[in-house]
Amino acid sequence: MSEETNTLQDLADQKYKYGFVSDIESELAPKGLSEEVIRFISAKKDEPDWLLQYRLDAYRRWLTLEEPAWARLRYPRIDFQDAYYYAAPKSDKDGPKTLDEVDPELLRTYEKLGIPLHEREVLAGVQERKVAVDAVFDSVSVVTTFKKELAKVGVVFCPISEALKTHPDLVRQYLGTVVPATDNFYATLNAAVFSEGSFVYIPPGVRCPMELSTYFRINAAKSGQFERTLIIADKGSHVSYLEGCTAPQRDENQLHAAVVELIAMDDAEIKYSTVQNWYPGDENGKGGIYNFVTKRGDCRGDHSKISWTQVETGSAITWKYPSCILRGDNSVGEFYSIAIANHLQQADTGTKMLHLGKNTTSRIISKGVSAGKAQNTYRGLVSVHAKADGARNFTQCDSLLLGDRCGAHTVPYIQSKNPKAILEHEATTSKISDDQLFYCLSRGIPTEEAVALIVNGFCREVLQQLPMEFAVEAQKLVGISLEGSVG
């Protein structure tokens, strides 16, 4: 065994800071999945009849579907009847009106997670800008901050269940138009049982005055989280949105199957950033979140732009392909991704860029880091349709391996029906060399910090895309995720 693998082989305990369980009594739907459960969820949310029908149609379709098996992921068959599809803190009977009415235990939970729910608090960032937060705990939203201030400029930012009451027409007009209920196994499941998520509407010409952010927390045992997020940026508007997520450390696996839909009209821009830090399971692969997520953005208008940035460090299984439909002429799609897999984590993630309009451009920068016995796959599709004259794509997929027991895989699909399209693809695979490590050590930088420094350097182009408020946190997270990956 080489010197380097000796240095890098001892993949030990990764410390997951957010593994605590909050002692909060939950109201659960009956276990398992059935029409009754779906009616229960819909009734809990006091939903209009069309939505109940939407859910039931999705459920009936879902019963006929098979789980997809094409991803490079190995896991035991999921028993969909052995989970709760709705869990809500009991204290939350009618929904708290103000922060004072929120269960103090819940507030303590978010305090421990470092999420500011008091409007006077702001995330510690260089500029200390304001960030509005929607906090989703299991299946319900606990609180949304800065709503009034946002309402002044016409921005709607609230839980989707609330939007169904306050802006029913908007929700009905756009829900399921980017990711239809028939899209895929997990999206169909989500359409049947989704329980919470954020709704954002930015009116024409408005630049959202602050970062919007949703923080998802799974707490209840044996429960899944099926959130649904819908963001609409009307003509000439601009919004930057960030989601974060954590879950307690539990021995059994928990399911997370979200759907996110983004719609950008003419000249609108949506920047969507994710810091995914679900519980990844322990070093022996026990527990952890199964993350099956469908995220898609529709550049519906001309000159629109959708940019995805993701930092994926958690989950036992990640199955996620944030995509862009470049429908409007001159629209732009971007995907910046860091996927870190340690221990026995498996990640199969990438993007789809569908060029439909003229002069559409897309850019894909993917950085995969594998350590321990983890398997990390980039899977992407760049598709140029016949009418997409002047389409351009640039793709760069870099993989970094730590040690010699992990794997990195790159599966890019490129389809072009337009002979004038310009498509570029670059890929590299590298290891942290023993020479690099020794160089850092000889300058007084201890091993774990050296690895974090080198990995952060490797991920730099993507980290730079994050809103400043979160970039520092993300850099620390990169270091923490790899803790124990070197001996």
Binding site: E3, N6, T7, S433, D434, D435, Q436, F438, Y439, C440, L441, S442, R443, G444, I445, P446, E449, L453, I454, N456, G457, F458, C459, R460, E461
Partner: protein, 249 residues
């Protein structure tokens, strides 16, 4: 004060250093010269504590402490610095960021407070100016796409900021043209100080025209076979290693 006593070192199970002894008092510049395969690089890596360089017997004493068993970062924190023959590239990490991480890591290991951003910037800018290093170069990823001269100047900058008590220069002149070598040597000479010693490891005599040593040692087959003043370098230049070493033996 560096004091190496009867050092034996194995690399991949093969003995490379076979009883190396050496004393470098504070403030002095010592050169180690020797033919290929004599153990020059092994000496510098062993002093810096690289894994895989196994000390089988002997001792490395540094200011009264036996540092033989210490990790590379602990040695760095005690003031041992190695300027690399081939400095490593670290993509995506700017020179500035690397310097800051190194300085703060050493401060932490020594139990000293970390520098604040303003103090750090002032020091880096002052040191960079001395070495003719531009602000732009500090913002580039460490050593990535640097010319040979830029890499060695960057090593010198690190040395200037980390303020070691012992600087080991491993083949500092390799890959440099005369102008670049002069510039680097000038930088090194500025760092000479009464409480700092230098160990200059080199194959060729030419570097010693610019960094004048107090003592020259000739390393052959894993030990010092001859020590003398700077005229020894000229003898070597004239007669070659074989003749000088044979005469010594």
């Amino acid at each position: 004060m560096l004091e190496i006593k009867d050092l034996h070192v194995n690399v991949h199970g093969k003995e490379i250093l076979k009883g190396l002894s050496l004393k470098v008092p504070p403030g002095e510049v010592h050169a180690i010269m020797g033919p290929n395969g004599a153990g020059k690089s092994t000496t510098s890596y062993t002093l810096a504590g690289r894994a895989g360089y196994e000390v089988t017997s002997g001792e490395i004493g540094f200011h009264g402490e036996d540092v033989t068993a210490l990790s590379p970062e602990e040695r760095a924190a005690r003031g041992i610095f190695l300027a690399f023959q081939y400095p490593m590239e670290i993509p995506g990490v700017t020179s500035m960021n690397f310097l800051k991480t190194a300085m703060n890591s050493q401060a932490k290991l020594r139990g000293e407070p970390e520098l604040d951003a303003a103090q750090f910037l002032r020091r880096v800018r002052a040191a960079a100016k001395e070495l003719n290093i531009s602000e732009e170069m500090l913002k580039r990823p460490l050593n990535v796409g640097f010319s040979g001269g830029e890499k060695k100047r960057n090593e010198t900058l690190q040395m200037a900021l980390l303020k070691p008590r012992l600087a080991i220069l491993d083949e500092m002149d390799s890959g440099l043209d005369i102008d670049a070598m002069k510039l680097v040597a000038e930088g090194v000479n500025k760092l000479r100080a009464p409480d700092r010693s230098f160990l200059v490891i080199t194959h060729y005599q030419r570097l010693l025209d610019y960094i004048t040593p107090d003592v020259i040692h000739i390393l052959s087959d894993g030990k010092i076979v001859l020590s003398g003043d700077k005229s020894l370098a000229l003898q070597l230049e004239e007669k070659g290693y074989d003749a000088v070493i044979n005469k010594a033996a």
